[in-house]
């Protein structure tokens, strides 16, 4: 029986790697089934199941929240996203990151005071050390 190599990888690590006789995924324009020796094909994925069927007919399910499906005759690669992606969601994340930067630079948050205090403490310790060393040298 013909088989096909399946790799599901995400930015944070490999999710699955193995041999299958059939792979199902929800592509952008509808559900696709990939059999071995499928022609080269590439598509964006919608959030949903990726099912991998092995030679014994057992199915394994993997949930992906989007990504890209790449098919070559002997290999299927799913480049999975680790989060749900949509244009406006990304936009919101960007705005959030901007806001955080403005907040941090404008208002002195408690966290920041802490960091500053810590660095001042480190400086003070270094100065004390230097003084101690000087004293030792004079004595010696």
């Amino acid at each position: 029986m013909a088989t096909i190599q399946v790799d599901i990888v995400s930015a944070e690590g490999a999710i699955h790697s193995g041999i299958a006789s059939m792979v199902y995924a929800s592509a952008e324009l509808g559900e696709v089934g990939i059999a071995p020796r499928h022609t080269a094909f590439i598509s964006r994925l919608r959030p949903g199941d990726v099912r991998v069927e092995n030679e014994k007919g057992e199915q394994e399910h993997f949930y992906v929240s989007g990504g890209v499906l790449e098919v070559q005759p002997m290999a299927v690669t799913v480049l999975a996203d680790t989060a749900i992606r949509a244009h406006d969601l990304d936009e919101a994340a960007a705005l959030e990151a901007k806001r955080r930067a403005e907040d941090a630079l404008a208002g002195q948050t408690a966290e920041f005071e802490y960091a500053k205090a810590q660095s001042e403490l480190a400086e003070a310790i270094a100065q004390l050390r230097a003084i101690e060393k000087l004293r030792k040298m004079r004595r010696g």
Binding site: E12, V71, L79, A83, A93, A94
Partner: protein, 287 residues
């Protein structure tokens, strides 16, 4: 001569400090191992993506995404600065910032204005002191950073690039050479640096769904995000390695200090005994 009791309390306090630094050293060692595993785990994704992207770029030569476009003249460049959230990791962050300052001076001399995105509290604190326009920031990623937490920050930069507010994006982070060595590096992210072009003729092409441009667009954004993610993970490994080394030397120094103080303590104790004996003897002689 210092009192024997004072020296003894001092020794006790240094000993407890040494216990803490030793514990931190061991924690950092185990965290470093895990961070290195994470570093290795993120490689196949970016590798695969690069393959697909370079194929797409060759298959559709008429379409040039702005991220892959030829260099335009530079007036303003963006830096994504990856730092750690916590201190006590030797010169890791300050080495990176020093390298960055040198780079910024060079750019300013060329008339190029820098803008920044910071990842990690240390970088944010640095720019607060140093000054500079920070467009976006992400902090408190923890030991296990997630791509989601970086999307916003990267997006701000990419948007600015597309709107032509900045003409190139660099990423500044530490490279993990080995446990003892971490090297601060600044790499160009956008426009993508073309790798060595394989002059492999194109025998086949994909069936695209919906079309090549859409696929290429979504791939490129993810590719850049994954590069940033990799840098963050690598910087995490560097942080732990640097902390491990710093804590080891701190423990060693504490050990040296303790043995020195122990000598002082012994001398003080001996002096006290000698004094007592001489007092007793002279007292007896007087009688």
């Amino acid at each position: 001569m210092a009192g024997a009791k004072e020296v003894r309390t001092k020794i006790a306090s240094i000993k407890s400090t040494q216990k803490i630094t030793k514990a931190m050293q061991m924690v950092a060692a185990s965290k470093m191992r895990r961070a290195q595993e994470r570093m290795a785990a993120s490689k196949p994704y970016a590798q695969k993506m690069l393959e697909v992207i370079s194929h797409l770029a060759r298959a559709t030569p008429e379409y040039r995404h702005s991220f892959m476009a030829v260099e335009r003249s530079r007036k303003r460049v963006g830096y994504i600065v990856v730092s750690s959230d916590r201190g006590l990791c030797g010169g890791l962050n300050s080495n990176l910032f020093r390298r960055l300052i040198a780079e910024i001076k060079e750019q300013r001399a060329l008339g190029v204005d820098p803008a920044f995105c910071t990842i990690g509290t240390k970088a944010l604190g640095f720019f607060k002191r140093f000054g500079g326009s920070v467009l976006a920031q992400a902090t408190h990623l923890g030991d296990k950073p997630h791509v989601e937490e970086l999307i916003g920050t990267v997006r701000v930069m990419l948007d600015a690039f597309e709107e032509k507010k900045i003409d190139a994006i660099y990423i500044a982070s530490n490279e993990f050479v080995n446990t003892m060595t971490q090297k601060p590096v600044i790499r160009q992210l956008v426009p993508l640096v073309p790798g060595e072009r394989q002059s492999m003729p194109l025998h086949w092409d994909y069936i695209y769904e919906p079309d090549a441009h859409t696929v290429l667009d979504s791939l490129l954004t993810r590719y850049i995000e994954s590069l940033v993610y990799q840098s963050v993970v690598e910087n995490g490994a560097c942080e732990q390695a640097a902390r491990m080394v710093a804590m080891k030397s701190a423990s060693d120094n504490a050990g040296n200090l303790i043995s020195e103080l122990q000598l002082v303590y012994n001398k003080a104790r001996q002096a006290a005994i000698t004094q007592e004996i001489s007092e007793i003897v002279s007292g007896a002689a007087a009688v």
